[in-house]
């Protein structure tokens, strides 16, 4: 499988610049997940890689060979399109087997392959229907199936599970994870879904407005986000951001704000030794709060709403004027309107520069 490298790749549509120069390497056999808000250029990146959009600048290399002159069909890619892009006039079996038929694969082999993939996707009973006769989620699975029957070296997935119900999505995720572990293929996967990104990705690339914010393993992104954007994007419920100022007290560094006064952990203190500004943004994960006040620094929150999610609830609380989300076990319900005491695990706190939004 080729190593894929983007070098200073740019893309503009007319005067609209969608991708500023972008560098990105996709290692051999790796499952790379692209995440980012809607409209940030994820599909554009995939389409450029697939050769469906021309580059406005830069070059893409497969194993050090430039490929911008290579037609899509010669790039040995299989792609699941965000809008499915099924062939309207062919039934599902024909849709899925199109690439194989073009390659003059023996009929028996085509049949077994299509059958296997269709069964895996729960669409085995739909093989002689046309795309217009399917529901959205069924069409999406056909789009997936059409890519999976192929033996390409690189697979591109553009939000392939976005239209499936939770149960099916879970099943598909497992199938994909299994594929990732058993097949030696490059896979590039675009998603909005936290869980998909975290569970599937060997490596996650977080994009915003065409710029790569950070790339790394799911754990790296969660524990050591490069900036406020990544910290806010990875993790669910999202991280709380609070305006605070740094105060030194008895040789200890504190983050003080409206309604809280939290001591910062040691390594942060040493990181901030030479930091001259006082105004910062404090990041607290919803999972950093504990009802056991003794486990961390105390904080008082006023409960506004409790959102029940099953075993866990998300508490929407106020700390002064700021809103704070707290993850909480549903088994010990809380009364709304009351003031609650929590302990904050301060070793999980993060500090961001207020202007550059970099993590300090």
């Amino acid at each position: 499988m080729p190593t894929i490298r983007f070098e200073q790749v740019e893309k503009s549509f007319g005067a609209v610049r969608v991708l500023p120069p972008l560098d990105l390497s996709l290692n051999d056999g790796e499952f790379t997940v692209l995440v980012g808000p809607s409209g940030c250029g994820k599909s554009t990146t995939l389409r450029i890689l697939a050769g469906l959009e021309e580059l406005s600048g830069g070059e893409i290399f497969f194993d050090e060979n430039p490929i911008s002159g290579l037609a899509s069909k010669d790039r040995d890619l299989a792609m699941v399109f965000q809008d499915y892009a099924l062939y309207p006039h062919m039934n599902i079996a024909k849709n899925m087997s199109f690439a194989l038929r073009l390659k003059k694969t023996p009929t028996a082999e085509i049949e077994t392959k299509v059958k296997r993939v269709a069964d895996m996707l729960n669409i085995g009973h739909l093989l002689d229907r046309k795309p217009a006769e399917l529901s959205g989620g069924q069409r999406q699975r056909v789009a997936m199936g059409r890519a999976l029957v192929r033996d390409a070296s690189t697979f591109l997935f553009d939000e392939p599970l976005s239209n499936l119900d939770a149960k099916l999505r879970g099943k598909m995720r497992t199938e994909l994870a299994e594929m990732r572990d058993t097949l030696d293929k490059n896979m590039v996967y675009v998603t909005h879904d936290q869980i998909e990104a975290m569970t599937l990705g060997d490596r996650i690339v977080v994009m915003s407005e065409g710029v790569i914010q950070q790339e790394g393993t799911p754990e790296q992104l969660f524990k050591e986000p490069a900036n406020k954007f990544v910290a806010g994007f990875i993790g669910s419920p999202t991280m709380n951001f609070l305006d605070a100022e740094l105060v030194s007290e008895k040789g200890k560094l504190l983050a003080r704000g409206d309604g809280f006064n939290l001591p910062l952990p040691k390594e942060l203190t040493s990181n901030l030794k030479d930091y001259s500004k006082r105004e910062i943004t404090l990041g607290v994960r919803p999972s950093s709060f504990s009802t056991d006040v003794k486990t961390g620094a105390p904080i008082e929150l006023r409960l506004v709403v409790s959102e029940y999610l099953g075993a866990q609830s998300t508490l929407v609380t106020k700390c002064g004027e700021a809103e704070i989300l707290v993850e909480h076990e549903s088994s010990s319900p809380m009364k709304t309107g009351g003031v609650l005491k929590f302990g904050v695990r301060t070793e999980e706190l993060m500090v961001f520069d207020k202007e550059t939004e970099r993590r300090l």
Partner: protein, 305 residues
């Protein structure tokens, strides 16, 4: 259902009735006139009411009339040949010119010009180009040292000459419809085919043509109907000759009414043509209806799912 709601349902029909009636009369009167006339032995100088009623005699006589049968055959052959050629060329050109290049818009406009010229002018133009001595074709042949071609004076060549003129004029019709069909194809399906490894030809054969098919079939039927009624070009270029080699049906009908003064026979001929065209039209409607029904059914099914 209450009387009031029944009345409410009838109201739109009541309002529409006079207009529909008027339209029906306006549409059907001339056709009814022609059908009636085909059962008469009728001269132009006579009032239609005084013409002798002869039943199916005109139809039966035509059935055994060599000249009529020949001209029916010529018409069939003409329609089949020109429409096949026009489909091939028109679709081919559309496939060729369906790209986003500079100057394409201008080129497309030029390609559809022939369609905008009056058929009688087209006929005259080609007649002079086919002229045995001063026409462009034979002058060119001569300058290359080749023998001149008897374009309009030989049976086979005159058929070819008429076919060429018609193809020249009507290929643009197929072209413009095909181009519109091509440009409204779902781009993403073509992109998917590209990624599935399809070459240019394979995309045309497996994706573009099948998806264009509904438009192509309608275009084909429209052209067929029109080709069966061709008159001016042939009239001006060959006047049906030499012999009966290009005596297409409309010409025969025209001659029967104008020169032989047999209006009843001409009407019967027209009705034979009408029956043929009606069969074609019904095929077209049935096909369209089937396509529509299928689309509606699929939409409904997809909604249920």
């Amino acid at each position: 259902m209450t009387t009031a709601s029944k009345l409410n349902r009838l109201t739109p029909y009541l309002f529409l009735a006079p207009a529909v009636l008027l339209l029906a009369v306006a549409l059907l009167y001339p056709i009814g006139y022609m059908i009636y006339a085909s059962f008469l032995d009728w001269r132009p100088s006579q009032y239609i009411g005084e013409a002798e009623f002869v039943g199916f005699r005109n139809y039966i006589n035509l059935w055994n009339d060599e000249a009529f049968r020949e001209s029916f055959g010529v018409t069939l052959k003409f329609a089949a040949v020109v429409v096949s050629l026009e489909m091939l060329l028109g679709v081919g050109l559309a496939l060729l010119l369906d790209r986003k290049l500079r100057g394409m818009a201008a080129l497309r406009t030029i390609f559809i010009l022939p369609m905008m010229i009056a058929p009688i002018v087209v006929g005259l133009m080609w007649r002079y180009m086919y002229h045995p001595t001063v026409g462009i074709f034979n002058r060119t042949l001569k300058s290359w040292g080749l023998d001149p071609i008897p374009w309009l004076s030989d049976g086979t060549w005159s058929f070819v000459a008429v076919v060429i003129a018609d193809v020249w004029q009507w290929t643009p019709f197929i072209f413009i419809l095909s181009l519109a069909a091509l440009q409204s194809l779902p781009q993403s399906a073509l992109e998917a085919a590209e990624l599935d490894g399809a070459t240019g030809w394979q995309k045309i054969w497996h994706i573009k043509l099948p998806l264009m098919m509904p438009v192509l079939i309608v275009a084909l039927l429209l052209r067929l109907i029109d080709a069966f009624k061709v008159l001016e070009v042939v009239l001006v270029m060959t006047n049906g000759g030499p012999g009966l080699s290009t005596e297409i049906l409309s010409l025969r009908i025209f001659r029967t009414a104008q020169e032989f003064q047999e209006l009843g026979v001409a009407a019967a001929m027209s009705n034979y043509l009408l029956i043929l065209l009606m069969i074609l039209t019904v095929i077209m409607f049935v096909y369209n209806k089937a396509v529509e029904n299928r689309a509606a059914r699929l939409r409904a099914e997809a909604q249920e799912a």
